[in-house]
Amino acid sequence: MEITFKHVDWAPNRQPAILKDVNFTIPDGKLVVFLGSRHSGINAVINLIAGFIRPNQGEIRFDQQTINLQPPQARNIGFLSSEVSLYPQLNVFDNIAFPLKVLKIKKGDRQKRVRTWAQLVNVEKLLKRYPASLSPQQKCRVALARALVKKPDLLLLAAPLKAVLPTERSELQQLILHLQASLGITTIWTTADQDEALQSADLIAIMHHGKIQQLATPEELYHNPQKLFVARFLGHPPINVLPASLIEPAVKKYLSQDIYRHAEFVAIRPEAITLEPPDDYVAHIKAEIKRIDNFGISSAAYIQFQEQELVSSAISDYFKQADQLTDLYFAAQGTYFFDPQGQRIAGGQL
């Protein structure tokens, strides 16, 4: 199912707007992650799609059909949230069977489908247990079966792995991705965890202050951020941001001088700071490596450049010596220039 938002605004009663002129289209069968902080508007997007709230303005479409006023019951959506995903008074079997029961599916068929789904998510031994006695990971598995058992057209996952232990997340994430790919179901996933987003998504929508900052594939977002916010939001260690004026003398002459008139910030990915000049580099500076941290397979160097501290990351043993002035290069692939509004004006692929 294709989901479209056209100029959607939403504000709670007498309060400032949470969503402002949100526009996007999610193609059928894709897994899209809405990435942002709790107050960025990602929850409002999920709630609008689910039908828990209605837009103040704009249009929400499912496959070209406007569904602004449609109640949640009529939308055929599977829903999984970290907050409440199961009915505490029902055991696992009844929890999975609940959507089928309210849809008045016959008992025999209901039992068959519940057992099939319990097997698929590996909870067939927990069918008589109650949610209070399940671990967060088991709850998530049951909730996933509950969400998918009625064959929904759309799957909404509101921070589904938030409550799950970090050591168990990967396995669950793989299960969700496997089921999503097998069913080919359009899926919307919200999270504040960029690793989760980068590993799972076909497309990522980064939200901030009620607006989509950029909607693109994970690679596109990382290598071609359209806004400074997006560049800052993605990446470990985070991107280095400097005032553009600071590196102006160090910038290679062939870059258009026009860029510097408008450039306010320059952002350099940690892996784009190198010791040897790459084939294509933007700037060459002399700076002092203050500290080197080795993490086995990789290492990070903390560099003092004028008043600013930069971080560079590379494979282990790439940086040899600390506490000395070193020549450093900013590779073109990974260095971006932004105007005072945080809009990219150079670097990457415009």
């Binding site: 939308r75 829903f79 409440v84 009915y87 959507p99 309210v102 209070a132």
Partner: protein, 300 residues
Amino acid sequence: MTKRAPVNQKTFSAWLALLPLFILVVGFTFFPLIKILFIGLGKTVQPFQINSFALLAKDANFRQALKNTLILCLGVVPASLVIGFFLAWAVSEVRLLRPVWRTIYLLPLASGFVGLTILMQGLFQFRQGLMNEGLKLEGWTVRHWLQIPTAANAAFMVTVLIQGLGLSFVIFVAKIRTLQHRQAIYQLAAIDGASSRQQLRYVTLPALKTTFWVVLLVELMFVLQLFDQAYIFFNHHLVSQHLGFTLTYYVYQTFWQQHNYQLAVAAALVLMGLMVLGMIIPLCCLKKHPRNFTPQIKAL
């Protein structure tokens, strides 16, 4: 870092905190109970024996009182449960003037039993009773409602129901409010396809199971202890001819008016047995809450 109090010291503090209430309960509840037994066994009156219950069973007044009490229990308690729940649910669903509706249904509880009984009695009075005044306006025949046994009994039952309703209403409202705070569970049900009626049936009602038993218990105790209302509603001397002649009233009558201590003590014990039964059955019917998940920490 603050030092933790040893367990024994904690237990001692807890006992110390419980002591005043314990003294009050022993002094004003258990002591009178034991005293009753001693009165029954005292030398001045015929000793209390097991055959007191046989005498009690033969007493037509006792049988009538027991029957009336059971009728009131069966008539008032389920009605109070059902009506109390639906009123609480409806008031919680209505947004317009919600506090006003709550106050209206809470009034029977706040106004006091005696006052409300007098008010209800006034409704059915022959002269200037609201019921007869209404009938007069319509040109219908007025009656001595409180002298017609069926009508008087029905009016008494309604009075008791209204008084009990306030309590069941307020308990249900409190629980439903906590449920509504958990909006996510209703959103989940809605997206799973449950209509409002199905949400009531599958989400609200199961979540209120414990509350139903609590209200049942409270209402049962209320009806089993009915006395003031009957005394006032039937003007004291008419009680024995009506539904207000309950077990509590029978104990009062045999003890204070007929001075038949033996029967009074036996009847009081029957009443207490009924109350204990009323308390035990709901507690036994409540399923144990499923065990909470505790993560297994493996030994290093």
